[in-house]
């Protein structure tokens, strides 16, 4: 029982550290300071105000998260 518990704590802490320190795959097309390339957005979810491209969000801070469902 004790061993299991310890295992649980260990894996939890690995997860917690992992979350903070796994670097994101670095994009190779852009560098800090350059203009963020614009792209068209065809549809939104969770964003009723909408925007047809990234440039429409100028004036706000935008955190782009390139992701896939898999």
């Amino acid at each position: 029982m004790k061993i299991y518990l310890l295992g649980g704590i260990l894996s939890l802490s690995v997860l917690a550290v992992g979350y903070a320190s796994i670097p994101t795959p670095q994009p190779e097309g852009i560098s800090v300071g350059q203009e963020a390339p614009d792209f068209e957005i065809t549809e939104w979810r969770n964003f009723p105000e909408g925007a047809s491209s990234l440039a429409d969000l100028r004036g706000r801070v935008v955190l782009l998260d390139f992701w896939r469902t898999w």
């Binding site: 994101t24 795959p25 994009p27 560098s31 963020a36 390339p37 065809t42 969000l57 955190l63």
Partner: protein, 250 residues
């Protein structure tokens, strides 16, 4: 990842952060994912691989933070909260006023015609000096001008004259009609007269041409853009603009 992004959007959305999940997958897949993973932050559907390739995405998730002026702030950090907080300092959110009588002011704000909004609000406030919505708006407009002006002055001090002129001109345009808008134009004049500024201004004008080429997006245009960047690096290597040209060359 999802809880972290939901949390960031919830925490900083009102201050001007938009978390945008970018995917080229089908709406059906995305909706299933939203159901299963409870994403509450905005998801943008894009077509094909052009967004991924424009950013050189090599794996998922890739996180890029973009500032209010449209420049890339970080591209290495998966959870760049401190950079977000810092960037939010320069966001100016002008809240719309509540009430039919403010419709023309709201219209000006929506069009980012902030000088017009300022003028209309001051005229209205003169008639009803107790109106807290109006005085609040004027204060936020004046503060936002001030912070934009100061950040442009800081650029001048760093020698980034081209950037400074561009910011000052934008500011003067947005705040046309506001009493201090002229100060921005005076700064522009002074910078243009300053002999130390001339290299960076020339380099900056070239960089704008390069940007226009990059924007067209075709291979031949990108080549042209890169050639302009190379010229900037050769002719004006010590200017702050040269750094940007180097970054754009990729």
């Amino acid at each position: 990842m999802v809880p972290g992004l939901n949390e960031l959007q919830e925490k900083y959305g009102e201050q001007g952060l938009v978390v945008v999940g970018v995917t080229n997958e089908s709406a059906g897949l995305v909706e299933t994912s939203i159901e299963n993973q409870s994403q509450t932050y905005p998801i943008a559907l894009v077509r094909g691989g052009s967004a991924d390739s424009a950013y050189g995405v090599k794996g998922f998730p890739t996180v890029v933070l973009v500032g209010p002026d449209g420049t890339v702030l970080t591209n290495k950090d998966r959870h760049p909260e401190s950079a977000i907080v810092e960037a939010l300092n320069s966001v100016v959110l002008t809240p719309l006023l509540e009430g039919q009588k403010y419709s023309s002011i709201n219209k000006a704000i929506k069009k980012k015609d902030l000088g017009k909004a300022w003028k209309a609000a001051s005229a209205m406030l003169a008639k009803s000096p107790e109106d807290a919505q109006l005085s609040g708006l004027l204060e936020s407009l004046e503060n936002s001008f001030e912070s934009g002006f100061n950040s442009a002055v800081a650029k001048t001090e760093k020698g980034a004259f081209g950037d400074a002129v561009e910011s000052m001109e934008k500011l003067a345009d947005r705040y046309k009609g506001y009493t201090r808008a002229k100060e921005a134009l005076q700064k522009v004049k002074a910078i243009k007269k300053n002999p130390d500024a001339s290299d960076d201004l020339k380099a900056h004008a070239m960089l704008n041409k390069a940007k226009a080429e990059f924007k067209k997006g075709k291979k031949a245009n990108r080549k042209k853009g890169k050639a302009i960047c190379a010229k900037i690096l050769k002719s004006y290597p010590d200017t702050p603009t040269a750094k940007k040209a180097r970054a754009m060359q990729g």
